[in-house]
Amino acid sequence: MIIIKPKNRITFIPVNELYHYKDLLYFLTKKNFIVKYKQTLIGVSWAIIQTVMQMVIFSILFGRFAKIPSDNVPYPIFVFSALIPWTFFANSLSACNNSIINHAGLINKVYFPRLLIPLSAIGSQLIDFGLSFIVLIGIMIYYHFSICWAFLMIFPLTLLTIFTAIGFGVFIAALSGIYRDFRHIIPFFLSIWMFMTPVIYPPSLLGSKFEFFIHLNPMSGIVTGFRSAILNQSFNWIALLLALIISSLFFIIGIFYFNKAEDRFADVV
């Protein structure tokens, strides 16, 4: 029995419904991925090239010229290990940013859980994320780094990154669906965010006074966590716990706001 009422939002996350539409999530994700690289000469290679180019530029600018310390590891692998989660996170958020508007034609014409739109936008970034590990292995071999037990931490860390990306991504998708301003704000906001995250520098650079503040940003804990797993360093468990708590908070806010905004999409987009 389907009951339609004004504001029939009872569930926080419509788990049953999302499960019913799991195939749609798969096909939307697949579409987003295929469309992104269709009719490009080198196709999926772009997914890798973007991150590799960033690594090269940052290594030259910050590693060689600015001489930013990199915890006694070669700067390219130091920055690349952080770029892997960061690029996934940033690309997910910008994909979410445009997702509602890009799917206006569907929102106006057919019902399905709207959450699938930002979720599939994030899902398609996951493939790029996976591909960047191929490059990582190459770089690790080049610099004679071996894969240790710590590397297994990549899996829970990946889940935490996805969880964080969903919280923020869903929030941003709803915001930019209703207020078009956010389409312009988010790219700008993301570039600032990157410099507030220890991607190109180690958190120790800021000194112990600021270290706590920088870890209020959940991506700080995640990025340093990835770095520890890849470079076999000791983990900053407090930073990771803080990241988990703050991400959970934003996950709740994000989903809650999305549920509230969702009913208006059809009238607004």
């Binding site: 389907i2 339609i4 004004p6 939307l28 014409k109 059809a266």
Partner: protein
């Protein structure tokens, strides 16, 4: 309430449903600045400044299992809003709908089709959007392809290389293979070539005879008459008739007759484009003595009177009336340059008259689009400016039995004759 529904096999129950739209909502909430400035001004009742449109008013409806219900009404009467609320695209403002079973809405076909994806990929994506499971699509895949009549070798080609006919046929085929208990169909028949349209109608016939419940919104009264036993008429958001289809159609025609003075074309809900130097204000259908003509039949003479609202004077205006079928096809155009008639200079409020002799349209529902321009710019273009209903004519007696609908839209005056004496053995 539940037990009530069980007893009568009601599949859908709509109670006291209302839906309001705020006009200009799109503009007002499009930017954050507007929102922030509202907060800043602490203006709690800013909604009341906007015009509220009541798209549906206290709407009640019960539909039993297996019924095929037609929904007719003028443009903007609330038909589409009703379907959108039932299909959960937009929430109601008040009231409640209870539906038993699964619902599929076909407000459009080919939803989510991406030009870069292949036919095969689009079948899966579109099927999933319509609520099908992957396994279900795989099972029906061969049937879908066969029904669309698309060659297998095209299945792995991006649909942007398809002809528009192929695209539409594939899109409809997927929709035609839905198995839900309740189907909501909005004008999807308006697709494809004649052959395929016939196939679609037959398919819908199949669906309707298979004990499934269908809500069917259409401007195509012939299709409504063919498919539906029960039809409701919606006018200004209210249900004004509910009953037998033939009576509903009659009621709809009468409603149209009463609406002798059409709405003000300057009203803000009219969709228009152009620079606005001159705007269409009003359109009326007059008889030969320039009195209002309540109904037009095939073969009638009449005059279209168009009132203009002139902001800037224009020289040698070009004015056209496009006559469109209810399937959206342009049938012909009345154009002062074609006639050819120069209307000189328009400076103040003016009325333009266009006289038509022996209108060659068969009975049915048509639209008029209005366009005005000068040499350089389009000043105003109004789509669906007038809903022209052509009635059965007493003069053309054969047309009085539209069992299967009239083939085509046009009636050409012609004579038949037989000559038996000239046959040579």
């Amino acid at each position: 309430m539940l037990s009530d529904m069980e007893k009568t096999e009601t599949i859908i129950q709509i109670q006291q449903l209302s839906k309001q739209y705020r006009l200009g909502q799109k503009v007002v909430f499009d930017t954050l600045r507007e929102r922030l400035s509202h907060i800043y001004r602490k203006h709690p009742d800013h909604f009341s400044e906007q015009k509220v449109v009541q798209a549906l008013k206290d709407f009640n409806l019960n539909i039993n299992k297996g019924e095929v219900l037609g929904i007719i009404g003028f443009n903007g009467s609330g038909k589409s809003t009703l379907l959108k609320v039932i299909s959960r695209i937009t929430p109601p403002s008040t009231g409640e709908i209870r539906i038993r079973g699964s619902v599929s809405s076909l407000l459009d076909i080919g939803l989510g089709f991406h030009p870069d994806l292949t036919g095969r990929e689009n079948i899966y994506l579109n099927g999933a959007i319509l609520g099908m499971k992957r396994g279900e699509i795989t099972t029906k895949f061969a049937d879908i392809v066969a029904f669309s009549g698309i060659d297998e070798k095209f299945l792995d080609t991006p649909v942007k290389r398809y002809s528009s006919g192929m695209f539409v046929r594939l899109a409809f085929s997927i929709a035609a293979h839905l198995d839900s208990d309740l189907l909501l169909i909005d004008e999807v028949l308006a697709v494809g070539d004649f052959e395929f349209q016939k196939k679609c109608l037959d398919k819908i016939d199949d669906i309707t005879s298979s004990k499934r419940t269908v809500l069917f919104v259409s401007h195509n009264l012939v299709a409504i008459e063919r498919l539906c036993h029960r039809t409701i008429v919606i006018n200004a958001g209210e249900k004004v008739f509910d009953g037998e289809t033939s009576e509903a159609i009659e009621h709809f025609y009468n409603l149209h007759k009463r609406q002798t003075v059409p709405d003000n074309l300057l009203s803000p809900d009219i969709i228009r484009s152009g620079n606005g130097d001159v705007k269409f204000k009003k359109i009326q259908i007059l008889d030969e003595d320039l009195n209002l003509k309540p109904e037009v039949s095939t073969g009638d003479n009449f005059t279209i009177k168009i009132d203009l609202d002139v902001q800037q004077k224009i020289l040698n205006p070009r004015i056209a009336v496009y006559v469109k079928s209810n399937l959206g096809q342009t049938l012909f155009r009345l154009y002062n340059i074609d006639s050819p008639q120069c209307l000189g200079c328009i400076e103040k409020h003016a009325s333009i008259y266009c006289s038509i002799k022996n209108i060659p349209l068969l009975p049915g529902n048509y639209y008029l689009n209005l366009w005005i321009a000068d040499q350089f710019n389009t000043h105003d273009f109004v789509e669906h400016a007038y809903n022209l209903i052509i009635w059965k004519s007493a003069r053309l007696s054969t047309l009085n039995t539209p069992e299967s609908g009239y083939p085509g839209n046009v009636f050409v005056e012609h004579k038949w004759k037989m000559d038996t004496s000239s046959i040579q053995n």
